[in-house]
Amino acid sequence: MDWLLLAEFSLVGLLSGGVLALIALGFVLVYKGTRVINFAMGEFMMIGAYLFWTANVFLKLPWWAALALTLAGIAVLGAVVERFVLRPLAGQPVISIVMATIGLGAVLHGVAEAVWGGANLSLPQLLPRTPLTLGEILLPGQVLWSFALAVALIAGFTAYFHLSKGGVSMRAAASDPVTAYAMGIDVRRTQRLTWMFAGVTGAVAGIIVASMTSLSPTLGTVALGVLAVIILGGLDSIAGAIVAGLIVGLLESLTVAFIGGQARDLVPYLVVLVILMVRPYGLFGTRDIERL
């Protein structure tokens, strides 16, 4: 065993777990806020990245203006989805909600392919590429910066949820919608905000992923692996999403290093199968108690 190699791959894995944690945050926000698993999360990422491409490359806006436009656009999309797809389905069985988000994903995928075409586009390099060297270990700059960005965004959201009135009312509405409603919190508004926030996280993650690889309608497939991540962390735990993102990033990187690239995509799913057998509510999730 080469210890240096192990250390390097572990660090790269942990850092690339940052982006996974960001995507996981998008899932957890929606699940906590509205009890919906958003299977269209990957499509949100993809649409976000395409919006950014349109503003930045096609319309040649500076990156900050393009980013602002993208985030505004994806927030509107989130609000529209909440209003016209998920709200009419409130209280429906799980399968209806799962299938509605899958159907939504198909629509977004088709629209993106019709508007932007199926070919690969490339985003400009937004994050500095200069690698960081720690002794013998070389860390790619993009991975490092995307990790920093993910940490900043997650920290920002956490601060919002704990320090601002809007964030606290979102938490209240998530943990008990009926009581929150009786206390004068506009639950519909918090649910709409939830979807907008999830869209924003997804768009940022999408832009990061697209700028590191390339942009195509299939960009969103990463998100399904992340679904496994949040099962590991617990569907309704932000801390769980972060820890699980890092663990899966680490495991994926180690698999690539010591078993081979083919097995990499399999890692999250094997993890989820084991977790579901042993501890179905995840590392940090709340245990459901059922009453008749």
Binding site: I95, S96, M99, A100, G105, A106, L224, L235, L273
Partner: protein, 347 residues
């Protein structure tokens, strides 16, 4: 107007087709199906074969998801197991009438393993477990090259009966369609038995079902095994029909296609399975025809948009049915029937 249909005996109450009119229609349907390949032409025969396969698989999924409430996002992978089993069995010289049940049995056995987590989890979590199974099985299809032929896939020889090859759409039709009819009748019959009714009880309220003495674990596994058996047989037929098994045929999109079919048709309804699978099989063909007309009218680029349009229509159908007609086409059909039964007294 129809007046009451009174069940005067237990036999009558239990009957699958309770009125004479229904029995006559069913007989006519069978006759029409038998004559179809000689009248319908090659394209329609091809479609009928494809539809037969989809019907079997969708019926299996409806047993699991619609009747028992176990959401499966991995149905296509079980079809894949069936298809590869047939490919391997044919290489070993096993004839199709043994290979098809074997395909179903292999698929059911793997379904039992995947169904084990259902002891502890349900709903969303179970859906994610089946999603994991979909990807793990897909990985096995791609990587276990000595058996599955890897990414290039495996060839399946034509099914043959005592040297008579069931090659070509018209011949394979007489394997697929009778099997589809039999398996749909089987699924319909299942819900007149204790097992089927236990499935429905589990779907409606699992804890109450357990209190009534239904072993949740055993019956959930049974539902999963039956559903996977249907998928395996459908996959085996798929192999004999398309003569090839490749990993990407049995990916997540196909699983979602079947879920969409039973949602559009109606969850927990065999009639819904039939209507939904037929509808979802014909829609892409219709879209293709429409794009063909658009091209003929001078819109040269129409063909480029076929795939995206299909995706959008597919998604809109799912979302639209969920919001506006959650009980699916089966419910629409019932409404139309009721209208005619009650006409002209209630319009």
């Amino acid at each position: 107007m129809r007046i009451g249909d009174f069940h005067a005996s237990y036999r009558h109450d239990e009957a699958l087709f309770d009125t004479r009119v229904q029995r006559i229609w069913f007989g006519l349907l069978l006759a029409a199906l038998a004559a179809f390949p000689f009248v319908g032409g090659s394209y329609l025969t091809y479609l009928a074969c494809l539809l037969g396969i989809h019907l079997i698989s969708a019926a299996g999924l409806n047993v699991m998801t619609g009747y028992t409430g176990l959401i499966s996002l991995g149905h296509a992978a079980f079809m894949g197991v069936g298809c590869y089993t047939v490919a391997v069995a044919e290489r070993a010289g096993i004839p199709f009438f043994l290979a098809l049940p074997l395909a179903g049995a292999t698929s059911a056995a793997i379904g039992l393993v995947v169904g084990i987590p259902s002891l502890r989890i349900k709903g969303l979590y179970f859906a994610v477990a089946t999603l994991a199974a979909q990807f793990v099985l897909g990985f096995v299809f791609r990587e276990w090259e000595s058996v599955t032929g890897g990414v290039r896939g495996a060839n399946v020889p034509a099914a043959s009966l005592f040297g008579f090859e069931l090659a070509g759409d018209r011949r394979i039709y007489f394997l697929i369609v009778p099997l589809a009819v039999a398996m749909l009748l089987g699924a319909r019959n299942l819900f007149r038995t204790r097992v089927g009714r236990a499935f429905i009880a589990i779907r409606d309220r699992d804890i109450s079902a357990e209190v009534l003495g239904i072993s949740l674990f055993r019956y959930k596994l049974a539902a999963f095994a039956i559903g996977s058996f249907y998928a395996g047989v459908a996959g085996g037929l798929w192999g004999y029909f398309f003569r090839v098994a490749t990993p990407e045929l049995f990916g997540l999109p196909l699983s979602i296609f079947y879920l969409a079919a039973i949602i559009v048709g109606g969850l927990g309804s065999i009639l819904g399975t039939i209507l939904g699978a037929t509808f979802m099989t014909l829609i892409p063909e219709l879209l293709r025809a429409m794009v063909g007309w658009a091209e003929a009218l001078g819109l040269k680029e129409a063909g480029v948009y076929l795939a995206p349009i299909r995706q959008v229509v597919f998604g809109l159908l799912i979302v639209g049915f969920l919001i506006f007609e959650p009980h699916g086409l089966a419910e629409m059909w019932r409404r139309v029937r009721r209208f005619f039964h009650l006409w002209p007294f209630r319009t």
